[in-house]
């Protein structure tokens, strides 16, 4: 033995001691569903694309975004962003400005001319899409990428549907619609304008289509009976907004009364102001809180000088004047007439009371079910008639661009499967990464970046876009406010906080792995993971 005095054994490493055997629970990496993604009607992987935007890779972010939604520059302007209502950051300071970043990415894509990847091999199947609104465009995009030959038949002279013939320019400039539509057409989609489908069965037969997706929207303005003198101008909001796209602007007069409390009412009133009306007054039978219009839009309208008579109905219209009756809410919150009247000067009355669907093209199609004026579809977006699918405003829905886009995507997946004689089963959803799963300590203080707004004078007299975009600095900052809920963003916390060195760092983009030989199952990594991407599970034995 040639060891020093009193030494009998060679030094050994504690690695011989596999402390993993102590464990009763083990940590596992998980991907939870971020609440924003869960709330997105278009099924966007918001956290996923923000992740790329955070590192400044905007093109990758845009590609990740457009996996699900081909219209980011449009969405970034008109989407009512339920994602932000669900965003976990609202419990830290305020929700991430997802919509603003989406718009930034959409505008970047237009600026740089980023194009979609061309579809792979052709399926040999032909699909007819009726209507070039958001739902039809979305379906066409996904179907084309799946390799199907897609033809869109659009009754109008331009694509976009209500995005073009409803939503005013000051919220959605037309070159944005043009650019995003062109990119879809460039995928190889055939867009036939001024092509109204009068009968779906005939159109499918004539074009030898294997399946059809209907997205004709809801364009017939609802009427209300108002006793009126012959001379009174009563028009409907959708027609007014549609005529804004033509050569001749609508003649509404100096004093315009708009009847209704939805976004369409707001848009018409704001349009009337811009057309030169001295007064644009909205008459609505319930309260501001109860109005279906989004509060931010009501606010913007009020800023521009639009006036509102809440809790009022129109009793009658005479020449140059209308009579309104004051309402009061009853115990159940319903408006009831009070018998109190008021006269308002009015050159025209615009009805914005909602829209009905023109179902003419479906005449004689067997199996179809229509309820409450809209076409019924199954969970796969197929109507009662095999091979005919439908989505957007013409089916039961919240009637937003985002829902329409989501319907288009969902329908495309089911049509794709149906054409192959199969059925599409969506992958199981991960558990939602609720706020209690996060460790908010780790996120740095970062105030919301607010989009600049056009000055009020120009908002009252021009159709220039009201809400402007973020610049690159702000957009990057905003993207980095994302907490990355439920999905590892490689902050190295687990790797650092393990008292047992039992976390292996795999390198950039590769995340981490547990070394279960030594992990004692203390759970510190789980508690200290900022974004809730680790879970403890009981050991089997």
């Amino acid at each position: 033995m040639d060891k020093p005095f009193a030494i009998t054994l060679d030094p050994g490493s504690s690695l011989a001691n596999k402390t993993g055997s102590w464990r009763t629970f083990r940590p596992v990496y998980v991907d939870r569903l971020p609440p924003c993604n869960a709330a997105c009607p278009a099924g966007e992987n918001i956290q996923g694309w923000l992740y790329h935007a955070e590192s400044g890779d905007y093109e990758q972010a845009w590609r990740a975004l457009t996996e699900n939604n081909p219209l980011p520059a449009i969405m970034g302007r008109v989407c009512y962003h339920p994602c932000q209502g669900a965003c976990n950051r609202q419990f830290v300071d305020s929700a991430v400005g997802i919509n603003a970043v989406e718009r930034f990415l959409g505008d970047e894509a237009i600026r740089h001319g980023w194009a979609f990847e061309k579809p792979g091999k052709s399926s040999g199947k032909r699909v007819l899409v009726v209507g070039a609104g958001p739902s039809g465009l979305s379906a066409a995009y996904h179907l084309a990428r799946q390799g199907h030959a897609v033809e869109i038949h659009e009754a109008g002279p331009m694509a976009g549907g209500m995005m073009r013939f409803g939503i005013p320019k000051y919220r959605l400039p037309r070159d944005v619609i043009d650019a995003e539509v062109r990119r879809i057409v460039d995928l190889g989609v055939t867009l036939k304008l001024d092509t109204k489908v009068a009968n779906i069965a005939e159109a499918m037969q004539a074009g030898r289509f294997d399946a059809a997706f209907l997205a004709v929207g809801a364009h017939i303005g609802k009427r209300a009976f108002i006793p009126a003198a012959d001379a009174t101008r009563i028009v409907d909001a959708v027609s007014v907004l549609r005529s804004m796209e033509g050569e001749e602007k609508p003649m509404l007069g100096r004093r315009v009364v708009v009847y209704g409390g939805g976004n369409t009412a707001i848009d018409v009133a704001r349009t009337a102001k811009r057309l030169g009306a001295e007064e644009a007054i909205i008459v609505y039978r319930r309260t501001r809180e109860k109005a279906p219009a989004h509060d931010s839009e009501i606010e913007e309208a009020l800023q521009e000088g639009v006036m509102v008579k809440w809790l009022s109905t129109i009793k009658q219209a005479a020449e140059g004047e209308i009579t309104i009756e004051k309402m009061a809410l009853d115990d159940k919150g319903f408006p009831q007439p009070t018998g109190e009247f008021e006269n308002l000067a009015a050159d025209s009355v615009v009805l914005a009371l909602g829209q009905d669907v023109d179902l003419g093209l479906l005449e004689g199609v067997p199996g179809l079910e229509v309820k409450d004026g809209v076409v019924q579809v199954g969970p796969n977006m197929m109507t009662g008639h095999a091979g005919i699918f439908a989505g957007g405003d013409m089916v039961p829905s919240e009637r937003t661009v985002t829902v329409a886009v989501g319907h288009g995507k969902k329908a495309a997946r089911h049509i794709d499967a149906w054409l192959a004689g199969a059925s599409y089963a969506p992958p199981p959803k991960h558990e939602v990464a609720t706020f209690d799963k996060l460790n908010p300590w780790y996120y740095s203080e970062a105030p919301l970046q607010v989009r600049p707004v056009l000055d009020i004078i120009r908002r009252q007299s021009t159709f220039e876009e009201v809400v402007q975009g973020l610049d690159e600095n702000n957009a990057l900052f905003e993207a980095r406010r994302c907490l990355s809920c439920g999905n590892c963003f490689e902050c190295d916390n687990c790797y650092g906080v393990c008292p047992d060195n039992a976390v292996i760092k795999l390198g950039p983009g590769k995340r981490f792995r547990f070394n279960y030989d030594y992990c004692k199952g203390c759970g510190i990594c789980v508690t200290e993971c900022p974004c809730g991407a680790i879970r403890m599970v009981p050991e089997e034995n």
Partner: protein
């Protein structure tokens, strides 16, 4: 604050690393090739704060010394769980002293290295001494004070878990008031450790006017690493006192170790600061002020303050101590 915090980048410098930060701005612990000075397979309890604090501190010292480091280690949990003969977790030259003489052993090593360097036999090798609060504030205190007073070139690191944990959780002079230990049971009129006893060695170290004194916790890695780096850039006697929660002794869940350390700092119970030559230089400010209950409640060693009936007057006294820290060190300033 001892380091320049990164203001934003999603998590700034709160997390261990951050994929958005340039590599040189990430922590030592974020590196794939960190030293792992205390390796896997050690026998510390699940969630041991001391094992974690030791790797944080010694890895940072190794990085600062380019791996040219010798550690002396007092008897205590850290020594016992890391080196059951013949195995060791240490990946650094390491010597086990006695319970009470680590500071003296480290002084001796530093002196020997100095001689060797003068003779041209050795390059510059740095020395760290480390021990628990018992080994530091009680039995080792004479040796430590001597090391300070002579300004020996040693960084002394005390891992404060508030008691003699290795021998069964007995009281030390660093056990906080009201805490239950095996020798301060939760019985009688004044259950748990008495108020008005014990000592806070960082303040005593400052009174020695040594070049550098700092406190840290395992909840603020960037701060801890910056302090080790600062200490290693200085010659002479340096003292770093790290609060390391002990799940077994404090009666906390093993996954809560870092959270508890954070609460100690955020409530003002444990002041985190640094001092040079006896003068306070910076504090790690409280980010989100909290009442002491938030810190006390999750710990079974304070269970008698909440059941069978709440001892509000005791909690109030602890709050006064925290408030005094906040005042004395200015813990709410610089926010």
């Amino acid at each position: 604050m001892s380091f320049q915090p990164v203001k934003f980048y999603q998590t700034g410098t709160f997390t261990v690393g951050n994929r958005l930060l340039p590599p040189e701005e990430r922590s030592v612990q974020a590196q794939t090739k960190r030293f792992n000075s205390i390796n896997s397979g050690h026998r510390a309890c699940q969630g041991c704060g001391e094992a974690l604090g030791a790797r944080y501190a010694v890895d940072a010292a190794m990085e600062a010394a380019n791996g040219q480091l010798i550690c002396a280690n007092a008897t205590g949990c850290l020594e016992v769980f890391s080196t059951p003969y013949p195995e060791t977790s240490w990946q650094v030259p390491w010597i086990h002293s006695l319970f009470g003489n680590t500071a003296a052993v480290a002084t001796g090593i530093a002196a020997a290295l100095k001689v060797k360097q003068l003779k041209g036999e050795r390059r510059d090798i740095r020395v760290v001494a480390q021990g628990g609060d018992g080994g530091t504030t009680d039995i080792g205190f004479g040796c430590l004070s001597g090391m300070f007073e002579r300004n020996d070139d040693v960084l002394y690191i005390c891992y404060d878990n508030g008691g003699y944990m290795n021998t069964g959780i007995q009281r030390s002079s660093a056990t906080p008031p009201a805490a239950r230990t095996a020798t301060t049971l939760a019985v009688g009129d004044e259950p748990g450790n008495l108020f008005g006893q014990g000592k806070f060695v960082p303040a005593i170290a400052m009174a020695h006017e040594i070049p550098y004194v700092a406190t840290a916790t395992v909840a603020d890695l960037r701060d801890l690493e910056a302090k080790v780096r600062r200490a290693m850039a200085i010659r002479g006697a340096r003292y770093l006192h790290i609060l390391v929660p002990c799940p077994l002794g404090w009666g906390t869940a093993s996954h809560e170790t870092i959270r508890i350390a954070r609460l100690a700092k955020e409530t003002g119970i444990f002041p985190v600061f640094e001092a040079e030559h006896g003068e306070l230089k910076s504090v790690l400010a409280i980010r989100r002020p909290l009442p002491v209950e938030d810190y006390l409640k999750p710990q079974k060693r304070y269970a008698h303050l909440f059941a069978p009936k709440a001892r509000l007057e005791v909690i109030a006294r602890l709050q006064q101590l925290a408030d005094r820290n906040i005042r004395r060190y200015g813990l709410l300033e610089g926010n």
